[in-house]
Every structure is written in C-alpha cells, then in structure tokens.
Symmetry: C2
Subunit: 138 residues, 2 copies
Amino acid sequence: MSDITTTLKTKGIRPTAMRSLVYQELAKQDTAVALTDIELAFTKADRTTLYRTVKTFEENGIVHQIDDGTGISKYALCEPGCNCEIENDLHLHFHCSNCDKTVCLTEHKIPQISLPDGYVAEDVNLVVKGICSDCSGS
Amino acid sequence: MSDITTTLKTKGIRPTAMRSLVYQELAKQDTAVALTDIELAFTKADRTTLYRTVKTFEENGIVHQIDDGTGISKYALCEPGCNCEIENDLHLHFHCSNCDKTVCLTEHKIPQISLPDGYVAEDVNLVVKGICSDCSGS
DNA sequence: AAGTTAATGCACTTCCATTGCACTATAATT
DNA sequence: AATTATAGTGCAATGGAAGTGCATTAACTT
Ligand SMILES: [Mn+2]
Ligand SMILES: [Mn+2]
Ligand SMILES: [Zn+2]
Ligand SMILES: [Zn+2]
C-alpha cells in the first residue's frame, strides 16, 4: 500500500486513483495552486472531479485554501502535523505581484491580534503582497 | 457648494450628481459594503455606473477596497487624512461569520511583518474572521 | 453658445465557483 | 462470486460577480 494511500486513509477518505494523483500533483508544487492549474495537469479528468477532490481534501485537513487577494482560490498541502480542520494553522501567505505566485510561509506564524471588546476571533488571514525572492533577485 | 462636492473636487474628480449620491450612501454605512449593496440602494442607476463610480473613488483615495475572504469585494470610505492611494493605510478588517458584515477596525493597525530574505512587501491584508460585537452580545 | 471631454446606460462577455443528475467504480453483505 | 449499498466521477447547466465596447448624455472650457 503506497504512502499516499495511507495518508488518505488516515485522513478518513477513500484513496481513489484520482485522489492519489491529485495529492501527488499537489506535493510536487512549491507554491499554492489554483484549480485551473490542477486542471491543466490533468487534461483527461473532469473539472468537477478535481474541484470536489480538492474540496474533500480541504474538509479533511489535507489541503488548506488560500485567499491571496486575486479573487482566485489557491490550495496547498498542509504541513505534516497540521490540524487546520480543527485548529487553524496561522502561517502567513505571500503573493508576488510580479510572477503572480502565492507561497505559504509556514515558518512565519501570524502574530496575536488584539480586537475591540465584544469581538471574538475564529480565524485570521494574513496575506502580504509584494515581490518574491525569485523576482527580487536577491 | 456642498461639502461632498468640495471633497470630490479636492480628490481630483468631477462632482457629478451620481458621485455625490454614492458618496453620501457610503458615508451612511457603519460597515464595508459590496457593490450589490450599493445597487440595492440605487435601483434606478445602472450597475456599471455604480461600479465605475466606486472604482474611481478607489483610484482617487476616497474609498478602499477590502478583500474579506468571502470572494466579494467590499468598499468603505477612507478615514479623513488617509492617503491610501499613495501609501497603504494598514488597519485590519473584521468579517463576522454570523451576520456576514465586514468592518474596518481603523484603530487597529497591522503590526510589522517579518519576511524571509529576498521578499519585499508592498501591501498587507489582514482579516480576522469571527463574531462581531453585535453578534456576540457583549 | 459651441466645442471638447468625461460620465452614464445598455448590452454583452468572461471567468470562476457550484449544483443536479446520470453513470460508474468501490466496498460491504449475502 | 453475485448482489446490494454507498461513494466517486463526468457531463451539462447555472449563478454571481467583474469587466468591456460603444452609443448617448451631461459637464466643463473657451
Ligand atoms: Mn499556507
Ligand atoms: Mn478599512
Ligand atoms: Zn515572484
Ligand atoms: Zn456579526
């Protein structure tokens, strides 16, 4: 039984061929990807299937969705040991305005945010926009 | 010459009737609003006009756009003295998962964010999702 | 008032997200 | 192993928000 199959089972979902392939594809990435990116990698598979696969992954803490401000949802595999379906993994995200890539900065946790009285925080989303290290040339 | 007219002229745009009305509508709000909200307030005006009016406001530092993670852009009047078309006004935003309202927490500035080497920050978006003071009942 | 420039309204388009339903594969039961 | 139940997949269609082209109208300049 493959490594990915085990992972999927552990997360409580059926390890279908499609899911294993999508998982593999996501694991290859060093940036967060949009659904259309995944579509391009699987021209034979249906958009809906990929869509639902990613949704399933999200609901089961395999990937997390990133709203990078472009209006297009991005997805990235969760870190090993991440429990973001229960408690949020509050790392920050970076969106490069030059190459349009979005990356997880998993080492950079979001600082504690103070709120006015009466406000209760459930989730925090912090996205920095700018020039990534590949594009700044340093 | 009305107050709003002066404001619009100061910001460098023509003070049309439509713009004054939209400005007035935005000034009434205590939360950030979507374009569809504005549409509902001006059933006689065309969507496109409202769309371009808000865009113009945004380009001229009259309103700022807020990406609250819902996928629907929200807009709010800038604070007096805000220069967000030149330099970002980095206050945080709160989106209530109960009443779906988005508010500017203009007093709560976004803390300095450290980035890995090579990354250059141009803009920061910080959105806290949770229960607002109206909904938490405290 | 005439001429110029900008704003508005209408129609149309694009893009991503999402759903319903039929079909197929997988797993469980007999 | 065959049957039944359950879950996944593919196709088609829909919805919602954002954006564009162009003709018309209003606002400003002279
Ligand atoms: Mn991430
Ligand atoms: Mn704001
Ligand atoms: Zn880049
Ligand atoms: Zn609320």
